[in-house]
């Protein structure tokens, strides 16, 4: 795809999605798209550190959760939600800086499992300390508009995609990709690996923190430990991998595909949806080992030839 | 014994071997010489089934090895001592040796094989319970050769057995190879140590940049300027 087409198509998609709530007045469609957009943001943020800097972070939910926790707390106390989200992003990124220095002593699978442990530590601690359900007051619920959440999600997803697109062609992104490909060779070319890995982690977790803030704004009633659940990490990972890791489009395609399939099957086959979803997932991985981005490229090459 | 005919091999898009032909007759020691990166190890990978040639044919005792999986080639009587020894470092010396006799043709003669290896390398008997990675380089090389011998091969392929060893050790290793050959095992020896290799072998091939650059009797090659130049350059004496 040419850059020019990208420049037209991206804003056009966003514009189309922006007018959608005015046309389609169904909360289920908005809610579905909200989940897709949230998944795009979360997967894209994971993509920065895993797809670009090559560090498979299995503790991603911790940053999503920290963002949600901070935002919800501040918002409940009367802070405007956007300010709360900003604070959530800062808290998530600061935590990333603190643990990153230790975690980046680990490489490869050890980094992955180490961060998984960190995520679990946070989840259990938050579950222990904050065991009370967090529910918005009835007056807030009365004024709850899903469209507001949808627009915020749309904006955030656009920011996330844009951030990854810009990063991908920037000096920093180039350095991160060099680390992903070969950390030693990157160092030999002057790339300070630790600094860039930390930067990628901070960027990634700040976005995850924002996504968490969005979740806190969206979800009326949940237990504070819920956004710390490893499921959020796994969802991000699966979406990114099945879409295409280290690409701008991968997480977008992956999120659409993953959320759609999951929701559709859950509605269509109440008793067998997990079984079908799992089996389909396995089949897709076996048939399209390169992810959806690659499959789309192959499909396009095929249709062009035909 | 072994025939390599017009073999062509590639890693991805770039060609590592082209039109390589080589023959080993029963009972021979043949040296394969050539500078680093000339494709010697690639050729060995083709012979041992780790890499499928893109074109050409490898025959062992008259049978083409085209579709034979690597592990089954050992069963046919072709064993290899890989470059860098590639021992199973966390296992004991004896476990390494016994793994050498993994294939059915060698299993029944495991005990005799062990005795033979210990007879050839008496030091190993003493260190047989030691973890292989704890051995010195020379002893590790002995284990690697011993492991290949345990397969009871009719053709032994050695990839740079002198690598990183002190000259005295190289000498004794080569002495052992001569003994092994005398017991009826053909040998294909890949070496950088030209002098030693040519002293040991009767014939030699010279591989350069993926092609056969020369072939001949060892005695002739020892005095061949081409060999010398390949290693020491035009200024070589």
């Amino acid at each position: 795809m040419t850059r020019a087409r990208q420049l037209v198509l991206g804003p056009a998609t966003v514009a189309l999605l922006a007018v959608l709530p005015l046309v389609v007045r169904r909360d289920d469609v908005l809610n579905f798209l909200f989940l897709v957009l949230l998944s795009i943001t979360l997967a894209q943020s994971w993509n920065i550190v895993a797809g670009y800097a090559g560090q498979v972070n299995l503790g991603h939910a911790a940053f999503f959760g920290l963002g949600a926790l901070t935002t919800r707390t501040l918002w409940s106390a009367g802070t405007p939600v956007l300010a709360g989200m900003a604070a959530g992003a800062v808290v998530a990124a600061l935590f990333a800086l603190v643990i990153g220095a230790a975690a980046f002593r680990l490489r490869g699978a050890y980094f992955a499992i180490g961060t998984l442990a960190l995520g679990e530590i946070l989840r259990i601690t938050v579950g222990n300390v904050l065991a009370e359900v967090s529910t918005l007051p009835a007056t807030t619920i009365a004024g709850y508009r899903l469209a507001n959440r949808y627009y915020l999600a749309l904006g955030l997803a656009a920011v996330a995609v844009l951030a990854v697109a810009v990063l991908g062609s920037s000096r920093l992104g180039l350095g991160m990709q060099a680390i992903r490909e070969d950390e030693d060779a990157a160092e030999a070319s002057g790339v300070g690996a630790l600094k860039l890995k930390l930067l990628a982690l901070v960027l990634s977790t700040a976005l995850a923190g924002l996504a968490g803030g969005l979740f806190a704004y969206y979800h009326i009633s949940y237990y504070p430990a819920h956004p710390f659940s490893p499921h959020w990490t796994f969802d991000s990972l699966l979406i990114t991998f099945i879409g295409g890791v280290g690409t701008v489009h991968g997480p977008v395609l992956g999120a659409l595909f993953y959320v759609f399939l999951r929701e559709y099957l859950a509605i269509r086959w109440v008793d067998f949806h997990l079984l079908i979803f799992g089996a389909l997932f396995v089949a897709i991985v076996l048939l399209l080992p390169g992810g959806l981005v690659e499959a789309v490229a192959r499909l396009r090459a095929f249709t062009r030839r035909a | 014994m072994l025939e390599v005919q017009a073999v062509e091999a590639a890693y991805g898009p770039f060609l590592a071997l082209s039109g390589v032909t080589l023959t080993i007759h029963p009972g021979e020691i043949v040296a394969l010489l050539g500078p680093n990166g000339a494709g010697k190890t690639t050729l060995i990978r083709c012979i041992t089934g780790l890499l499928r040639p893109r074109a050409g044919l490898v025959r062992f005792e008259g049978e083409p090895l085209g579709d034979v999986p690597a592990h089954a080639i050992v069963e046919r009587g072709l064993a290899v001592v890989p470059e860098g020894r590639r021992l199973f470092g966390a296992m004991t010396v004896e476990e390494n040796l016994e793994l050498g006799a993994f294939v059915p043709r060698a299993r029944s003669r495991r005990a005799a094989g062990l005795e033979r290896v210990y007879a050839i390398f008496p030091v190993l008997r003493g260190s047989r319970r030691q973890i292989a990675s704890a051995l010195s380089g020379g002893q590790q090389q002995m284990v690697a050769i011993g492991r290949a011998l345990m397969a009871n091969p009719r053709l032994l392929v050695l990839d740079e057995p002198s690598l990183g060893l002190a000259p005295l050790l190289v000498e004794s290793i080569f002495e052992v190879l001569r003994e092994i050959n005398a017991s009826g095992v053909s040998i294909l020896l890949v070496e950088q140590n030209v002098q030693a290799a040519l002293t040991l072998s009767r014939r030699a091939y010279i591989l350069e940049a993926g092609r056969m650059a020369g072939e001949g009797s060892a005695a002739a090659l020892l005095d061949d300027a081409r060999v010398r130049r390949a290693y020491l350059g035009p200024l070589a004496p």
């Binding site: 070969d182 | 898009p13 350069e208 010398r228 020491l232 350059g233």
Partner: protein, 231 residues
């Protein structure tokens, strides 16, 4: 275990020095020490009087020492141009981005990769990958360039063109230290050779003197002592 012990030498600005020695003699270890990939247990590595021993590789690179790898290690997921850009944007040069692209393209042309800027390394031949790695190293604007077996695996024609390339780079004022197995090429290129054996320096001098050194012939051409005498 000691891979390299008590090796001392100096390289003058603009010089091209060859390092040779049999496999396992410590050449690559020496390079890793200079480039910061390994930390020396003792001794100093000075570039223009600044001690670089023990510094991280990317700092060493920023000081002006670049390297290539024995087995080529291009960034497989990045285009040729991006490979070179990494060097340009992070090395000693740290140019502005738009200027960097121009410089990267110039370097790609210099090493003979014009028209291949957008290919992935997997689609390049070995010699081209070596050229690419050289361009990436040059992009960091090195004062000293370490070439680790640059000619390994090349056919004679390719070797000739690689030699021409190295001469061109030397002509640009880069100081070169190269490990090489293809000795005739090394002897042809350099005015001075250092020979390592078992981690120690056993010879240092002009090529003809080194080639005639009996010690060098023994360890290098190898063989038993008896046959060395015969040679």
């Amino acid at each position: 275990m000691r891979a390299v012990s008590d090796v001392s030498f100096a390289v003058a600005e603009g010089e091209l020095v060859g390092v040779m020695g049999p496999n396992g003699s410590g050449k690559t270890t020496l390079f890793n020490l200079i480039a910061g990939a390994l930390r020396p247990d003792a001794g100093a590595i000075r570039l223009r009087d600044r001690n670089l021993a023990g510094r991280a590789p990317h700092r060493v690179c920023a000081e002006g020492i670049a390297r290539t790898f024995q087995l080529v290690r291009p960034f497989a997921g990045l285009s040729a141009l991006d490979n070179v850009l990494v060097g340009r944007l992070y090395g000693r040069a740290r140019g502005a981005r738009h200027a960097a692209v121009g410089e990267a393209e110039r370097l790609l042309a210099l090493v003979g990769l014009e028209g291949k800027a957008h290919l992935l390394p997997a689609h390049l031949t070995l010699i081209d990958r070596k050229r690419l790695e050289l361009a990436r190293a040059l992009a960091t604007a090195p004062r000293l360039l370490l070439l680790d077996e640059f000619m390994a695996g090349l056919n004679p024609a390719e070797t000739e063109s690689a030699m021409a390339l190295i001469r061109r780079i030397q002509g640009e004022g880069v100081t070169l230290l190269m490990v090489e197995h293809i000795v005739w090429a090394l002897m042809d290129l350099s005015r001075r050779l250092i020979v390592l054996s078992a981690g120690e320096k056993i010879a240092d001098g002009p090529p003809d003197a080194v080639a005639a050194d009996p010690l060098v012939i023994e360890v290098y051409l190898g063989g038993t002592r008896g046959s060395a005498r015969r040679a």
